[in-house]
């Protein structure tokens, strides 16, 4: 005849939570690798247009950004403005900005410098053309129109 243990003496074993922190740390490292820390605080509204034929910018260290869009705070007006680093700038500041960006890089990398134009979709092309003309004068010919990803137009 089978014997049964008394129900009262059974003890639920505690769950081992030692490996929990390892799992979370793995998550943490994963996020640290795939994300980038924002370097500038945006002063302008940027909602880039969508495009399907996009290329990824490969070397992030060799990219300098120019932001163009409507100021977020209405006290700066409604006209689209240019933001370089952490402040508003005018078109004439771009050459100095490019020179400073070049200066910050190694000599070997300077030719590879790409300028990423982060421009809001509602911006008029006039200001973008001005920026492009300044970039030509500064000798920064490699540009990238920053866009969101969109599915293929056809197929």
């Amino acid at each position: 005849m089978a014997r049964f243990k008394k129900a009262g003496s059974r003890k639920v074993p505690g769950i081992n939570t030692g490996s929990m922190s390892d799992i979370i740390f793995m998550f943490l490292f994963f996020f640290m690798v795939i994300t980038t820390i924002r370097e500038v605080t945006l002063l302008v509204k940027i909602k880039p247009p969508a495009a399907s034929e996009i290329q990824k910018l490969e070397k992030k260290a060799l990219v300098s950004f120019i932001y163009v869009g409507q100021p977020l705070q209405s006290k700066f007006g409604n006209e689209s403005r240019i933001q370089l680093n952490n402040s508003f700038a005018s078109v004439s500041d771009i050459q100095a900005f490019i020179a400073a960006e070049r200066q910050a890089r190694d000599e070997a990398d300077r030719k590879m410098l790409t300028t990423s134009l982060k421009v809001d979709g509602d911006t008029k092309m006039g200001i973008v053309t001005d920026v492009k003309q300044e970039l030509r004068k500064a000798g920064a010919f490699k540009i990238n129109y920053s866009t969101r990803k969109k599915g293929k137009v056809t197929e």
Partner: protein, 191 residues
Amino acid sequence: MARISPELNTGSMADISFLLLTFFLLTSSIDTDQGITRKLPPPLDPKNPPPDINIKERNVLKVLVSKSNALLVQGKYIDIRDLKETAKNFLANPQNRQDLPETEEKEIPGLGKIKVSKGVISLKNDRGTSYETYIHVQNELAAAISELRNDLSKQRFGVKFSDLDNSKSDAISKAVPVAISEAEPENIGGK
């Protein structure tokens, strides 16, 4: 008898790493550094204007995006959905028509002798054009070129352009160059 060292309480470790995780999630962003890459032409020297290169009329496709975001190709209004086909037809010139660009036989390593189009798409915009429309047009033109590259790649190597190795994709890029010129701006529509 060896003394048994007391176990470290690691229960709060998970909490600490959770805190770090949330901190990084909040301060960082998955940045989308992607877009349409283009090369700007070097600036014009006013003292030293470039020699008048005779580009034949048939070799240029004039695309203009107007102030009201309308699209004109060779002076005619067209729908943006037709732009890609127009550009493809212009660059490929499959029927060898006289009013479409000339082709030039070139020796390209990896492909042998191949006809390369002399066509150039000249993209002009107005100061009043919206950036979104401009990017849309750029995107359609880029799509035309990438489709032509894909076609050639499938015909020659049997795989998509993006799956080719470096030397082969370089060869295809030479056979179908990115012939988009962002023309000198003109002030028409004001700010």
